[in-house]
Every structure is written in structure tokens, then in C-alpha cells.
Amino acid sequence: MGKIFVDVWDVTEKPLDAMAGLAYVTEMPNGAENLFVGTVRNHNFGKKVLGISYDVFVPLAKQSFLEVCQEAINKWGQELDLYVVHAQGRLDIGGVSIVIAVGSPHRDEAFKACRYIIEEIKHRAPVWKLEHYEDGDSEWSKGCELCSHNHVIDAHNIGESKAHIGENKAHAHD
């Protein structure tokens, strides 16, 4: 039986640590550890970005992380060790916004579960990005409408899947 750790960290007090995530999921029964690190890039839609402020509804966000992790376990096995930490607060370019680590006995499950978790979090977690631009302007990112339907991702074709939201509107994120 694997274990799950989810949290939201105020980055002004505690920066995210990818190696901590990796350490959490590195266990004796695991032969594969998959690590996803989201970082702030210096551009978006042609505008130069200086940083991003992350706003998070923490209790519901943590619950959504847990739900997504449980779904991954249901799909790819009880042995998975899972670690998800999301940033709250302002990050400069290169700052780490999310760390997802998955440990599994085998690599296929580790890759698929990690991909599933980041895609679902992007569509379901109550997190909002305020982008700060070089020209002094700031703008909230256009995001995904939340819906009452669960998103459908084909567990067997995760690499080619599209997330569906609302009335079958499909879209992709960077």
C-alpha cells in the first residue's frame, strides 16, 4: 500500500522542493520514480512575463489533489506513492509552482499517473494565476471553467488523451 502527501505552501515562507518530493516517493518496493516540476516561464501569448502570483482556495485545493491522487491509485495501483505540493504567492521566472512525484514498482504506471495528476489538477484545482508583465501590467490567466462532470481521460491512452470539460469542450494547456 502506497502513501499520499498533498499540500499548498506559501512560497514566501517555504519554497517548493522537488528533491523532497522525490525522496518522499522513493521506497524499497519502487523501481520507478517520476518527477514533474512546474516552473514560471518568461513569456505567455507573446507578452514578456516577470512573474506569477498564485491564488489558491487552500482547503478545496488540497481536497481536489487528494481526489485526483486517489483516482490515480484506482487506475494504476495501490502501490503508488504520490506527492503533490502547489505554490501560493508570488514567484519570479524559474520559480517552482508545482511538484508532483510518483513512485511505483514499474515505470509505465509512474509516467501515466504523473501525467494524469498534473492534467487533472490544471482542470480541477481551485488555483488562479495573476501574470505580471514587463510593461507593468498584470492580468489573471484565462482558465478552465469548473463543472459538475468529472473529466474523462482514457487511462490506456494517457499520452494522446484530451481532457473534456463541461459540454464536451476540449482544450489544452501549456
Binding site: G38, Y54, D55, V56, F57, P59, L60, A61, Q63, H86, S97, I98, I118, I121, K122, H123, R124, A125, P126, V127, W128, K129, L130, E139, W140, S141, K142, G143, C144, E145, L146, C147, S148, H173
Partner: protein, 85 residues
Amino acid sequence: MQITVQTFGAFRQFGRQIILELADDAIVSDVRQPLVNALVDYKAKFDIDGLVESSRFATETSILDEQHRLTENMLLTILPPVSGG
């Protein structure tokens, strides 16, 4: 009855929370128009009406169905479209 709407994302510019007066038998879908009315005098870089329409309402533990019955002094959170990760 009175309810409080906690704000996140683009709605932060209107303050941390907005208090609304609703009918005693109000459901979640009844929150939108009073909320738009409360924000109508604010200037925003976005379409307030459209963003309220595309938002959901939640408690700390769940996203609420549109037919969910509200209760006196309930604390709701408005969730505009999300962009985590």
C-alpha cells in the same frame, strides 16, 4: 437571508468577500444576478457578467450544484475558471 461570498482570482479586486441579501428559499443559481448587481459600479478589465456566469460556487469541501439550497449566513466561495499548475 444574508450570505457571504468569498472571492478568489479575478474577483479579488472587489475585496475579500461580498455580502448579499437573498430570498429565504434561494438556491446557488440565485446568487449570480445579485452578485453582478453588487459589482456593477466597479470598473474591471473583464466582463463581470460573463465571469460570474462562468464561475461556480463552493464550500471548503465541495463544489455546489446549481440547485443546492442556501442557508442563513452561509459562506460561499466563488470559483472563476481555474489555471493551476
